[in-house]
């Protein structure tokens, strides 16, 4: 891990910025890159940061210097011939105002357009072993693995050290898929599919968040990217491909009937049953997920129960109506869903 280096940078920024800073390190941080693309971007960022401070220092320095000299000599009072400082000022304006910007931006253009941008570009469909589809919905993410039957929501599992082609689409409005520690962001545009590559170095969990304002619950539309060892990833995918097994207890059995006969199945699909709704997330392996409601609440039995009863409180305006179930029916439903590992 390169945590110490990152701390140093945090410190450097802190000293330069002279503002109290929080949140150095941790997740969803573009300056804690965990892939070669994000690393290239972060490096360019730090170089530009240095340049920007030099530029600002130059301007503010000249301002302060002029201030210091403000009473040295009133300009032009009864001065004949050449105005004092005129020539020097012309050099300064031409060099600092014209030559310097052109030199700096040309360099920047070459570096960013010819080198850095290449690494962040979308891969062709043949160059990666794995393609994943991510579909933005108001306000959750649907994740599909083409070539398999696996469908999940709000979490994306990928193997480590393997380039993965991520196709992003949308079911409604424009969203933006962004996992800062892994790569650039890319918008999901209705009617098209945009592509971005994820190639994570490290096993771990990375937070992503919708970055294009997409309406009411835009703030609560996040996702996790789980980077696993390739073998663990294959096991996970095989498990996700399976349809559900028969409920293990009588309680869960009752829950399953409630799910299929009640309103749940009109919006949610569970592979291996008759439930094939497509408005809400596929729930075939819902119990294996870390969170509910696109990282709004964690996925524990208690939270699940609360979510079913009062999802409109936790995430007002989401597509799922509050489900008024009595205690016993709710117990059955939760038991069924908790069995969907």
């Amino acid at each position: 891990m390169n945590a110490p280096r990152e701390d140093r940078r945090c410190l450097a920024f802190l000293v330069l910025a002279v503002v109290p800073l929080a949140g150095c390190g941790g997740s969803q941080n573009a300056l804690a890159p965990e892939s070669h693309q994000a690393r290239d971007i972060a490096t360019l960022f730090w170089w530009m940061m240095g340049g920007a401070w030099v530029g600002l220092g130059l301007v503010v320095g000249l301002l302060l210097w002029s201030w210091k000299r403000r009473n040295r000599r009133g300009f032009g009072r009864d001065v004949e011939g050449d105005k004092p400082g005129e020539k020097r000022s012309w050099y300064a304006v031409v060099v600092l105002g014209i030559v310097m910007p052109i030199a700096v931006i040309s360099t920047l253009f070459v570096v960013s357009d010819l080198f850095v941008i290449k690494t962040t570009q979308a891969p062709a469909s043949t160059t990666t072993k794995l393609t994943v589809q991510v579909i933005g919905h108001q306000w959750w993410w649907e994740v599909r693995y083409p070539g398999t039957t696996a469908v999940t929501a709000n979490e994306l599992h990928i193997p480590a050290r393997t380039p993965v082609r991520v196709e992003v689409k949308t079911a409604d409005v424009i969203h933006s898929f962004w996992v800062p520690e892994l790569n650039r962001k890319i918008d999901t545009i209705p009617g098209r599919s945009n592509v971005v590559e994820l190639d994570a170095d490290q096993v771990g969990r990375y937070r992503g968040q919708c970055a294009e304002f997409c309406g009411l619950q835009h703030a609560h539309m996040a996702m996790y990217v789980f980077v696993d060892e390739p073998s663990a990833f294959r096991r996970w995918l095989a498990q996700q491909e399976k349809p559900v097994e028969a409920p293990s207890s009588a309680l869960a059995e009752r829950g399953a009937r409630l799910f299929l006969d009640g309103p749940c199945s009109s919006c949610h699909a569970i592979r291996g049953t008759d439930a094939d709704g497509y408005v809400g997330p596929d729930l075939t392996h819902v119990a294996s997920r870390a969170t509910l409601g696109a990282l709004t609440v964690s996925n524990t039995p208690d939270d699940l129960r609360q979510w079913i009863l009062h999802s409109q409180q936790a995430k007002p305006g989401n597509q799922m109506p509050d489900f008024n179930a009595s205690g016993a029916r709710l117990d059955a439903l939760v038991a069924f869903l908790e069995g969907l590992k």
């Binding site: 301002l63 009133g74 400082g85 545009i189 304002f213």
Partner: protein, 645 residues
Amino acid sequence: MTAVTHDEVHAGPAPPPTGWRRLLAPGWLRVPWMTALFFGIGAGITVLVRWLEGWDPIWKGSVITTVELTAVPFGFLAGIGGFDYWMRYAAGSPTRPEDHSGHGARSWRDYFRINTDHKVIGIQYLVTTIFFFVAAGLLAMLMRAELARPGMQFVDNQTFNGLFSVHAALMIFLFVIPAFAGIGNYVIPLMIGAPDMAFPRLNALSFWLLPIAGFMMLGSFLAPGGAFASGWTGYAPLASTHQPIGSVFFNMGVQWAGASSIMTALNFLVTIITMRAPGMSFWRMPLLVWANFTTSLLVVIATPFIAGSQFFVMFDHVMHTHFFDYQAGGYPLGYQHIFWFYSHPAVYIMMLPGFGIASEVISVMSRKPIFGYRLMALSLLAILVLGFSVWAHHMFVAGMAPWLRVPMMVTSMVIAVPTGIKVFSWLATLWDGRIHFDTPMLFALGFVSMFVIGGLSGIYLAAVPIDIHTSDTYFVVAHIHYVLFGGSLFTIFAGIYFWFPKMTGRMYDERLGKLHFWLTFIGFNLTFFPMHWLGIQGMPRRVADYVPRFADLNMFISLASFGLGASTLVFVYNMVKSWRFGPAAAANPWRSLTLEWQVSSPPPIFNFDEIPQVVGNPYEYGVPDARHAVFNGDRQVELEEVPTR
């Protein structure tokens, strides 16, 4: 041939109406019933058509709202008298061109009616825009209160989304753009030696469109379903299909504000081209005039594009057309192209007049000629041209054709050159100057330094690899506030303080002015600088809630922003107090050469009792015997008293 006097073809001044006839005279008594009448006509036609066609329901909210947001403002304008002259002219009734009863202000009441005096209109503009500035600032305070801690505390998501949308829309369309138009309105005719704007009645009408647009946008909070909440960018298809009726208030508000902008810009263009005093060649115009000339060109060319984009969205929303519905063959990315084709030039519409104000203030207060006058003017024109070729840099993350990034990146970066010329020319103007740190100068220098930060972060955003990471994050929020607050707002303040003595005839309180500057400068940096860091750390913008690890920094920003908000109180207090009780101002307290300072404070009703003759450049401070203009009557006397004490 007998001379035809005006009395024979035109009626004389109208006698003041009495009794019930006062209801017919243009003014606030005619407004209520005229507005109601137009409301009735709008609703009546809509209902009648729907009834005849057999459409159900006959009274449909979205349709009625759309129709009334057009009809009611026309009723208001007709009531207050915006169209009286033209209606009379069109109908062939006697007109009264020589009746100047609608010109100038003799009491405070004259500021609340159709007034054709550009000086009155300028003040109307400024007071109105400051009202909306305070309103939009309060919305920002509410936002910061909500964002102080993670989780939802004060408002729900819908309200929060409305807050940031209305905040941005008001600040852009009802503050920055028209505030510059207000300063320009007051100063430009004076600066070029003209008695008024070219089209005084059009000028009056374009002012009265503004409060309509502003209250329409604010009023959307009262609409069922809440305010428009798709951001001021209103991206389709979010804005065209997934919004409450409040979004029509935004679509129509933009039309009214945009029409106002376009009409004012045309007025500026015609005034500047045709009404300059004798001797005032283009290369003798003060830079603020150049800036307003360039800005007006931008407005006239670009504003119709946002008008179009908002009409398309409204049609999709209300009439179920399919401009941006891909399932019916629409093109969602098309919205962004049209929108940014206006909205990037709009950034320069909001910045170039500020460049002009900074040039005036810095030159006068350094007692030196502005450095590189011609290059300064030409770089404005360069920005005008380049400004139209960079729009798609707002769309690097949208997945448009990859090759488009190259021209957009190049043009975006090239704008650094004319901007660099301007920044270093200001610095060269300061160099060796006798710098006077009055409040306008503090704001102008604050602008130069803060705008440089905004410009540098702009280069980050022009560089595709950085932009694809930082776009739609708080980094962008920081960037636009450094440009629009550190840039535009600081120069608006500089302009208001600078011309306050000219506008009101009174001097503002210098101590309070300085206090206002330092509070604003410090509060501004403490509020917006940390946002760069939040953004690069991964906090998206336009979120009502965020992960706990951003909590400390957000709390800090919120506290700083309350301080920044409070600094506005100092400004408002200073303005109100000084306007009423301030010491009388001299005609030329800054010892400036430009024409507006050569007349009394405030100026006579038609600006110049005699036509000035422009004989030199406007910025020859400290150059012996230099004059910008002379007045015929006292050429000899004035030439001996060169005002460069």
